[in-house]
């Protein structure tokens, strides 16, 4: 059994008027079943309103399912007793970098999580130093977060989660408000944490370029998981992705269009490098 397991998960946002009568029901998650292995890098794709953020909030029990069950490390998220244990080992990074930093000094913000857990002062210092090193922000420890770039702020937020020693990090569109450089910075950090610290990563995003290194990709649409597989499997299916209003990476799209017009290029090309190889092979064959 994996670290995260969901069975027939269902969640409804229920809107009530002033008398408490149900005005409208919005089914954000509809019968989702998934199983995430420990140490994996999992990406969840979907356009706005596909329910991917709602799913993310279920993993660390910020929301509890209307129906169905979600287990994190064999702990049922609906049970109140498990709440803090779950949140401690399933950290969450949100979209807006400004709205999740609590303290006015970088190192004090990183210490916020361990402080809440009641970690002794001496251990807090070592944890803060370790996690700042892990995200490469050590030299900014005494700075004010207001003076950092978006990407740097997001890395601080990740360090703040790492200081709680989680087994899993859920990132809810961490790059949506960043410029391309900041985006690369954050994704590189996440990838390194996954590789070096063996943290399970759940990356929620709608940028295709960010998911090509994932071990597994889930595509969500209208609350349902509509596709799942390795990035290569997913991106071989350009037509279906377009149906869910998702773009494919530029190279993949180019390869797909060339194949459609008759060139013998394999399916599911993910990087420029692979594309160049395929074209070269093609040239050698035609010589």
């Amino acid at each position: 059994m994996g670290i995260i397991k969901a069975k027939n998960l269902l969640f409804e946002y229920i809107r009530r008027d002033e008398d408490g009568n149900v005005e409208s029901i919005n089914r954000a998650i509809d019968d989702v079943t998934l199983d995430v292995k420990k140490g994996d890098f999992v990406a969840v794709l979907g356009h706005n309103g596909s329910g991917k953020s709602t799913l993310a909030k279920h993993i660390n029990a910020l929301l509890v399912p209307t129906e169905g069950t979600l287990w994190f490390k064999d702990m049922n998220t609906t049970e109140e007793d498990n709440l803090w244990l779950i949140r401690q080992s399933a950290g969450m990074v949100f979209q807006n970098p400004d709205n999740q930093i609590v303290a006015s000094v970088v190192e004090e913000d990183v210490a916020f999580g361990p402080e809440n857990l009641g970690v002794p002062t001496k251990d807090i210092w070592t944890r803060v130093e370790e996690s700042l090193n892990a995200v490469g922000m050590m030299e900014y420890r005494g700075h004010s977060p207001n003076k950092l770039s978006g990407g740097q702020k997001q890395r601080i937020a990740i360090a703040g989660i790492m200081a709680m020693k989680p087994e899993c990090i859920v990132l809810d569109e961490p790059t949506a408000m960043l410029d391309p450089n900041g985006r690369k910075e954050v994704i590189r950090t996440v990838k390194e944490l996954n590789k070096n610290e063996k943290v399970t990563v759940i990356l929620i995003t709608h940028y295709m370029e960010e998911v090509i290194y994932a071990d597994k990709v889930y595509v969500m649409d209208d609350g349902k998981v509509v596709m799942e597989g390795s990035p290569r499997e997913i991106f071989s299916n350009v037509e279906e992705l377009k149906k869910y209003r998702l773009d494919v990476p530029q190279v993949t799209e180019l390869a797909y269009e060339l194949k459609k017009s008759g060139l013998a290029i394999p399916d599911g090309i993910l990087t420029t490098h692979e594309f160049v190889d395929a074209i070269q092979k093609l040239r050698q064959q035609s010589w």
């Binding site: 660390n60 910020l62 803090w84 949140r87 401690q88 950290g91 969450m92 949100f94 807006n96 400004d98 709205n99 999740q100 930093i101 609590v102 303290a103 006015s104 000094v105 190192e107 004090e108 210490a111 916020f112 999580g113 361990p114 402080e115 809440n116 857990l117 009641g118 970690v119 002794p120 002062t121 807090i124 210092w125 803060v128 977060p145 207001n146 703040g160 989660i161 709680m164």
Partner: protein, 265 residues
């Protein structure tokens, strides 16, 4: 405009005063303010001034920078001085209709202004030498006894430090909204008081909406990081009294003693 106010800002240099425990500085400031209104003869002023300027010297904050802070409260000075000048009864030296100026009035006006100046300088010196975080930590620790009468001390200090963290963010946001509205033809500068107040509505509404959204996000992020109030919480930088803090307390006691003795003369 808001950025010109130097009161309440932190001035980052390394000095003995900066390194003192925030609790010492808080208690010291309160005692100093009380002392300003406790003495009644002229020697008192000299001692209070000597004490203040010595401490400013130790703090390494430039005097010019500190004095700039007085600009923001000049209206208050004029206001109190005028009232003291015209409303103190005594020997009249100038009379015009119902306006009477007395010698006693002039003296109290001058002395009151000096006292207020010292008060502002003394308390702004505390904020110049203490980071906001340190200050809230100090307040939390000093108010801890109030926990017994059910005052939510930890929550209050948490709110204060979050407010301090978000002030610059919200100021920047105000700037942005203002520019966005100006680009669409909003006018914040001309017109009478009523018109100007009305023109603030398209500024304040989006600002409040965004502040609420931020509060919501922050609450969720804090919960996700296991925040559940002050119970069982440890600190990365707990406050501890050191030798220099004891020395500072002794200096304070000395200052108060001298004032009390002088007051008897």
């Amino acid at each position: 405009m808001i950025r010109d106010i130097t009161i309440g800002q932190y001035y980052p240099v390394d000095s003995l005063l900066h390194r003192l425990d925030p609790r010492v500085k808080l208690i010291g400031t309160i005692l100093y303010i009380i002392s300003l209104f406790a003495f009644s003869n002229y020697y008192g002023y000299i001692i209070a001034a000597a004490f203040l300027f010595t401490v400013i010297k130790i703090s390494k904050v430039p005097l010019k920078f500190i004095l700039k802070g007085l600009k923001a409260v000049i209206v208050l000075f004029i206001f109190t001085a005028t009232f003291n000048l015209f409303l103190t009864p005594g020997k009249i030296i100038y009379e015009l209709g119902f306006i009477k100026i007395t010698i006693e009035g002039i003296i109290t006006a001058v002395l009151m202004t000096i006292r207020l100046t010292f008060l502002i300088l003394g308390s702004s010196l505390m904020t110049f030498t203490t980071t906001p975080n340190n200050l809230t930590d100090g307040l939390e620790s000093l108010m801890k006894p109030l926990n017994k009468i059910k005052v939510p001390v930890h929550e209050i200090s948490m709110m204060m430090s979050i407010a301090l963290r978000f002030i610059p963010i919200l100021m920047e946001e105000t700037d942005k909204i203002m520019k966005a509205q100006m680009a669409r033809g909003a006018d914040f500068e001309t017109g009478g008081l009523v018109k100007r107040a009305k023109s603030l509505i398209p500024l304040l509404v989006p600002l409040f909406v965004s502040a609420f959204r931020r509060a919501n996000d922050l609450a969720m992020a804090m919960e996700a990081r296991c925040y559940r109030g002050g119970e069982g919480r440890t600190k990365m930088k707990p406050l501890k009294y050191k030798g220099r803090d004891l020395a500072a307390f002794l200096v304070l006691v000395l200052y108060i003693t001298v004032l009390v003795v002088i007051n008897r003369v």
